[in-house]
């Protein structure tokens, strides 16, 4: 009890310090961005970037713009689609590799050889293969999360304490029951971790794919946040680039937070430590 209070105290001091650092950072950025108009000397790098105040103003203007929100919606849709597909395929595949040695021996090496190819290198091949651009973006997104999820599930399932399996066996459990009541819940924490990491990668891939492919078939507002940034760049409105970046940051953060909450819900026993 008392100790957690102690940590609370610490935490508040830490928070204060963190906020101080961020405020200083924003001030330097503001000064750097305006250095040319203020002093005539242009700060390297930062001097070329839009100032935070300008970004905030631009953002305020965008809040009422439906196409900005449409970009959010499209990106979320793609992330959700690719991620769900990766979960649906990756979890069973990882589990199956963990319990079936032959299958593992057959396909794990192939899997390992494909893995170092960065997901974005798949973009052109994917565009050729899939009938619509939307599907090809979804495919690349799926790939990004897929490897991580499979590896985490496989690792989790393989590192299950042997005693759990033996205890279940000696109580007369069937293979199916061991899978359902032991292997699955024991792997859940790794699934949660894998999906959190996978979610991060998914956002990376979606943004890049949106930029590279020019925003999908619908283009414009249907292009998602990645395309929003890219088109802002092409259109020369640099403030909007930063707005886009921050928006993606927020979106990514909320997706991970959502996953964390979900993970906590599915693994209640981990909270009791």
């Amino acid at each position: 009890m008392k100790r957690s209070k102690f940590i609370d105290n610490l935490f508040s001091r830490a928070t204060l310090r963190g906020i101080t650092a961020i405020v200083i950072f924003v001030l330097i950025w503001e000064f750097g961005a305006r250095s040319e108009e203020l002093t005539g000397w242009r700060m390297p790098f930062l001097g070329l970037v839009p100032a935070p105040s300008a970004v905030a103003a631009s953002w305020a203007g965008l809040l009422g713009d439906p196409s900005y929100w449409q970009s959010w919606y499209m990106s979320f849709l793609r992330v959700f689609g690719g991620f769900t597909a990766a979960m649906l395929l990756g979890i069973p595949l990882g589990l199956f590799m963990a319990i079936n040695k032959t299958f593992h021996g057959l396909y794990f090496p192939t899997f390992e050889i494909m893995r170092p190819i960065p997901p974005l290198a798949w973009v052109p091949a994917s565009i050729i293969f899939w009938p619509t651009q939307e599907l090809s973006i979804a495919f690349v997104t799926f790939l990004g999360a897929f490897y991580t999820i499979v590896l985490n599930v496989l690792g989790g399932a393989k590192s299950i304490n042997k005693q759990y399996l033996q205890a279940a066996q000696s109580m007369g459990a069937s293979q199916w029951d061991i899978f359902r009541r032991i292997v699955l819940p024991a792997t859940l924490p790794s699934i949660v971790v894998g999906s959190a990491v996978g979610m991060g990668i998914t956002w990376e891939v979606v943004v890049a794919a949106e930029m590279i492919s020019g925003g999908g078939a619908s283009g414009g507002a249907g292009g998602g946040l990645g395309f929003f940034i890219w088109s802002s760049y092409v259109g020369g409105s640099y403030e909007q680039i930063v707005v886009g970046m921050i928006s993606i940051g927020i979106a990514g953060y909320f997706s991970s937070e959502l996953l964390r909450q979900l993970g906590g819900f599915f693994t209640p026993w981990l909270k009791t430590r």
Partner: protein
């Protein structure tokens, strides 16, 4: 499993009388690995786990006791030799031989109650009876208040008691315990000894208990198997004729228990020394010189 046990079980919820169940280990050897890395863990090991007795096996740590448990439980098969239960060879794990593991193997994702109910649910047999029995056992091990808690919320001693309950609900013919009280502090340990002894004294099933603690061994055992260092075989068997029920207080003053302790300690100390020096020449010399000094 046979239905007569089931009937026995439902007839009286507490003590039950078991039919004879004896495990015979004869000339068993087991080697792990191959080539330059092979390691013979058990060599030519024979002993009997007698029916309706508490047999305790003691030996230095890392001496292959756990391997013997794996073999008896049927998780692994011996390279040579045979292990039979009531005359029939052991071919795989089964709920007639239930293992309680060293570190608690309670499933962390299940509450105490679900853990206890795991066996019956996994086999899908007599769930109603089992539920009643689970409540009875919960009360018996004093964990009613912790019915819906996860294992991490229980103290070490409570976890061991929950595990005892989880094993007992399966009515095993033979209960195998692999250093179940290791890692508990002295006080909880002694409480667990008394508790476990009283459970055993109630029904006198066949129990096989593995430990590295001499006091624990003497307190619990009907028969004591003393194992040698690697490769492991049976070094000596001692019948412990201290009357039951046993209590910590009475045993502390028991002359007989102290005599046994002296005897066991002499045997084991030698084996522990061997295990400690771990084959290192320098360490063996050191111990040699040391034991000479002590004389």
């Amino acid at each position: 499993m046979n239905t007569s046990t089931q009937d026995n079980f439902t007839a009286n919820t507490g003590a039950r009388v078991q039919e004879a169940s004896e495990i015979v280990v004869s000339n068993v050897s087991k080697t792990y690995g191959s080539g330059p890395f092979s390691k013979t863990v058990i060599k030519d090991c024979s002993f009997t786990i007698e029916s309706n007795k508490l047999t305790v096996m003691i030996g230095p740590s890392g001496c292959g006791k756990s391997t013997l448990i794996q073999l008896i439980a049927g998780f692994e098969t011996p390279d040579t030799g045979t292990i039979t239960m009531n005359g029939a060879p052991i071919t795989g794990p089964g709920k007639d031989r239930l293992v309680l593991f060293q570190e608690s193997a309670l499933f962390p994702w299940m509450t105490t109650y679900d853990n206890i109910m795991y066996g019956p649910r996994a086999r899908g047999e007599g769930l109603k009876e089992a539920a009643k029995q689970a409540d009875f056992l919960l009360a018996k091990v004093g964990l009613e208040a912790f019915r819906d808690k996860y294992p991490t919320q229980l103290s070490g001693g409570m976890q061991r008691r929950a595990e005892l309950a989880r094993a007992m609900i399966n009515k095993p013919e033979v209960m195998i315990l692999d250093e179940p009280f290791r890692g508990l502090d002295n006080m909880s340990k002694e409480l667990m000894w008394e508790y476990y002894a009283s459970l055993y004294e109630e029904d006198r099933n066949t129990n096989f208990f593995v430990t590295t603690d001499i006091d624990e061994a003497i307190f619990l055992a009907d028969r004591l198997l003393i194992m040698s260092n690697l490769p492991t075989s049976t070094r000596s068997v001692i019948e412990i004729d201290i009357p039951r029920p046993r209590k910590i207080d009475t045993l502390a003053d028991n002359q007989r228990s102290n005599e046994i302790k002296k005897e066991v300690m002499t045997l084991l100390h030698e084996e522990a020394m061997k295990s400690f020096s771990g084959g290192s020449k320098a360490a063996a010399d050191f111990l040699d010189a040391y034991s000479k000094r002590a004389e």
